[in-house]
Symmetry: C2
Amino acid sequence: MNKKLGKQTVAFSQPPVIINAAAVGGQKEGEGPLGKDFDVIVPDDKLGQQTWEKAESSLQRQTAVLAMERAGLTPNDVDYIFAGDLLNQCVGASYGLRELQIPFFGLYGACSTMTESISLGAMLIAGDYAKNVMCVTSSHFCSAEKQFRYPLEYGGQRAPSAQWTVTASGCAVLSKSGEGPRITQVTTGKIVDMGITDISNMGAAMAPAAIDTLCAHFEDTGSSPEDYDLILTGDLGVVGSDILIKLMRENGYDLSSRHNDCGKMIYDIEKQDVHAGGSGCGCCGSVLCGHIYKELKSGRINKMLVMATGALMNPMVVEQGESIPGIAHAVVIES
Amino acid sequence: MNKKLGKQTVAFSQPPVIINAAAVGGQKEGEGPLGKDFDVIVPDDKLGQQTWEKAESSLQRQTAVLAMERAGLTPNDVDYIFAGDLLNQCVGASYGLRELQIPFFGLYGACSTMTESISLGAMLIAGDYAKNVMCVTSSHFCSAEKQFRYPLEYGGQRAPSAQWTVTASGCAVLSKSGEGPRITQVTTGKIVDMGITDISNMGAAMAPAAIDTLCAHFEDTGSSPEDYDLILTGDLGVVGSDILIKLMRENGYDLSSRHNDCGKMIYDIEKQDVHAGGSGCGCCGSVLCGHIYKELKSGRINKMLVMATGALMNPMVVEQGESIPGIAHAVVIES
């Protein structure tokens, strides 16, 4: 029997297994510290397409197909696919995955989408609705820049707190049984808005949501940071990670020796000139499904919490004077 | 024990109950044939806000709060809220619902979002993950026109096949027990793209997905149109409904005496000058949570299938030459 712990957490009696995963990245991601852990580095960030949007769809398709094939599955074996991305109307997912012909749930959780999809996928499997579920996200630097910021050709200056949208996609294949790391708990986040309005400082906008979900998780489960080998946030970057560590300490939790952030890991922040680090749905997606999945499989990580974080704004409403709400969903994985 | 029927359908052993619902509409919707079945008609389509985006968020908030209060619940009683809308990055939902502080799953299913949210909400309740779940969607004519078509001030001509985005929001409150119509089955749709590229003919783009899901439903469950008092599509409008009836007949199913479409019901199509009918996430949302919910409660409908339909495109990718993929999710409701 699955158990609801506190208000926001579910613990699975038969934890779903991540039977396989795939991460595909762009050139810059391939040159970063985790480059060797990507399954594929695409030779051309446009993936042979005519537009950046089509390139992102293609990236998502390639990643999903690779993960599915590695898991030894065909589309007919997959009960549901959960997917999303940052593009308007989530076209990365809908155009990328339309050929697969798998029952599809489209999600929008901004950069929190990877753990949103794993949370729902795991709940459907542990609820006996599905044997196999795929969870896919992507982001692309070029499609994100033109949509959220400036045309690439403009060559705009970037603020020191700004993050670099990752060109990558990650796909996890969850299954009722099999070999691999298991999803034992999920903690679903609330929307948290502390009034940040700086569109060049997403880390600060998302950190309060990360703190809210993480505190809820520790309270719901009675666990503490020491119970985890790694507490991995999605893409708080340098600025947001510092806020997280500081404010969690004020809440009585010392994360300093356990925490890392996908946005800090994926690039060499100094050498690759990415300011506050990486971001985008594909950041947590590809780091989790690439590097971290290999660490879990090898036993170098035994028990971890991964929490992707999202900023639920669009540029127009921020120009209209709105602040930036954040959200974070946490997933516990044990190998 | 919940049962998977065929590939796409789940039948619930303990069907979740729609314990309450609310529908809030704009002026034009209030003047339509279902006007009296809205719980609130807002006196001003801007809802006292400065922008159309904020108006839509406000509409979604008002609807969610009304449904929750009617169900006798506080935010603390609600385990999860599933929500989405058509705005870029789904800001209708994230800004509209941030104050509620309920664990939040953001969805993007375009105009299919109402039944996507009910499908997932019902699965989480019947899977023992939740006692109460809220499902919310909205759309707004003015925020949709400026985002998908032309600035309102331009006064562009509308094609005869074009639909009118509904200014409305619907919210259903699902619960593990209680009084009300029950959700007995859900059939999850695949993305279907038959190559339609006319952005002024969403009905034709979405009809193939509706046909695909409906045929899957009949096959998975062994049911036929005669088993339902009503087969209600979300917003195929006049053009899409005609395609649905015709092609379902070719598939061996005669829907003609059972079918209706929220986009055809919500307006007086001739008098209100809406061309092919209504559309938008709030179309199925408000018709289901307003008029239809009352019909179910009164016993005038005993067993029905509702299937919201979505077009998963954005205007930019269609300008890039892409066709328009559709999706449809079906939910069986019994009173």
